[in-house]
């Protein structure tokens, strides 16, 4: 049997190239919902929202927490350009937890001003990190 086809996947943030590997497939949070990409996918452009990208490489799954950005798919290559991206071992769980609590407090208080959107975004970021880091009690149905 021929080797399963692979696709080059790169994640870039302003800080560094976070990930660059040949992978089997991935599942990522686009603005209109989760999107799965296999090798030889048709060219596609989409915007990303805060969430967790699930990557399968050589049959093993790993997770990357990302925030806003965009993704370009070509048959042999996926470019994911986002503001932040972290692999599970780079995530500071305590920081994400306290960020989540802070955001929860602010969500209680500031129902209708502009800070609400910000608090919501930081809440989502914290959740995505906790989820990627494999934390259980993250109330993850939001993402």
């Amino acid at each position: 049997m021929a080797a399963a086809p692979k696709i080059q996947f790169e994640v870039v943030t302003p800080q560094k190239l976070v990930y660059s590997e040949k992978i089997d497939k991935l599942e990522a949070p686009a603005i209109d919902g989760l999107i799965g990409i296999w090798p030889k996918h048709a060219p596609l452009v989409t915007a990303m929202k805060i969430g967790v990208v699930r990557v399968v490489k050589d049959g093993e799954e790993s997770q990357i927490a990302i925030s806003e950005g965009f993704m370009e798919v070509q048959p042999d290559k996926i470019n994911l350009v986002v503001r932040t991206a972290e692999l599970p071992d780079q995530i500071d769980i305590d920081r994400a937890k306290s960020a989540k609590e802070r955001a929860e407090e602010r969500l209680e208080k500031e129902r209708d001003n502009i800070d609400f959107a910000r608090a919501e975004a930081s809440y989502d970021r914290a959740l995505a990190r906790l989820k990627a880091a494999g934390h259980q009690d993250h109330g993850y149905d939001r993402l």
Partner: protein, 306 residues
């Protein structure tokens, strides 16, 4: 021959100045290290942003988005990125000169100035300044780029301006920086040369060189799928494109400023050394002359007593 005390005083003042230039050089060097790391780390991000998005705009026929609208004539908004402080060689002025060129060539130009140097300069000349930002952070944040992008998108959508460009300084090394002009809105398509250079890059990446040529050609127009729709995708990624590009330009400019300041202060310190050497020589000559004069006077006096 100058008075000895005058020379000594001058040596003292040059030495004091040298202390300042040396301190500034060291501060700039320390900040440069950090700023340079940030700018260089952000470069793959910047290149990917430009490569992906402009590539998409070039290859797709989908161009109906308001931020891609090319409107004839109208006002040109120029973002000028300089520093808040001087003593950094020609860094600020190189940027201002390019802005001046645009002001001379075109009739309707407004400026968005970043940095006290550009603001003061264009205020004195009563140029139309649409917005100004001073006291910039040494290490600019993503949020600041976000605000700038929001502001120019607002002006472009309201049709206050029909074109937006940005003048910034690209950091090559501590001793070499290049001023660059980049059109932000409407988003420019790749021209032929840039398109080719990317096609070549992509070719090099591919193992199988023979089919790469054909693939590069067929990439000229790719029918991208836009999920969920072109309008929604562009609504999301165009602002991000601007933020990313502005953010990178801010980082590059800051690194350049520190590089320019370090180089300028380094040569100022060297010049001060040279000056101190010259003045010391002068001082020694003056002292020697004084001694010779005194001896001649004493000898002359003794002669007269005989």
């Amino acid at each position: 021959m100058q008075n000895m005390r005058d020379i000594q005083r001058r040596i003292g003042s040059v030495k004091n100045t040298q202390k300042i230039t040396r301190a500034m050089k060291m501060v700039a060097a320390a900040k440069l290290k950090n700023a340079q790391d940030r700018a260089e780390d952000a470069r793959p991000f910047f290149n990917k942003t430009v490569e992906v998005l402009r590539g998409v705009f070039t290859r797709t026929r989908e161009t109906s988005h308001p931020l891609l609208a090319e409107r004839e004539g109208g006002r040109h908004l120029v973002i000028v990125i300089t520093g808040d402080r001087g003593l950094c060689g020609a860094y600020n002025h190189k940027v201002i000169d390019i802005a001046e060129e645009i002001l001379e060539e075109e009739e309707e130009v407004s400026l968005m100035v970043l940095g006290r140097k550009a603001r003061d300069y264009f205020r004195r000349r009563e140029t139309d300044i649409m917005a100004e930002y001073i006291q910039l952070d040494d290490y600019p944040g993503y949020g600041f780029a976000n605000n700038l992008a929001d502001e120019i998108i607002h002006h472009f959508r309201a049709e206050d301006v029909n074109k937006v460009s940005m003048i910034y300084t690209h950091f090559n090394s501590a001793i070499s920086q290049t001023v660059k002009t980049m059109q932000l809105l409407p988003v420019e398509k790749f021209n032929k040369a840039e398109e080719d250079s990317i096609a070549v890059e992509e070719q090099a990446e591919q193992m199988d060189a023979e089919t790469a040529g054909e693939e590069a050609k067929s990439k000229k127009y790719v029918d991208y799928i836009f999920e969920p729709s072109p309008a929604e995708v562009f609504d999301n990624i165009l602002p991000q494109y601007l933020i990313n590009v502005i953010y990178s330009a801010l980082l590059e400019s800051k690194a350049s400023e520190f590089g320019a300041r370090m180089t300028a202060m380094d040569s100022a310190t060297d010049n001060a050394n040279e000056m101190i050497d010259k003045l010391t020589l002068k001082y020694n000559r003056a002292r020697q002359a004084e001694i010779t004069k005194e001896i001649t006077e004493i000898v002359g006096g003794a002669e007269a007593l005989k």
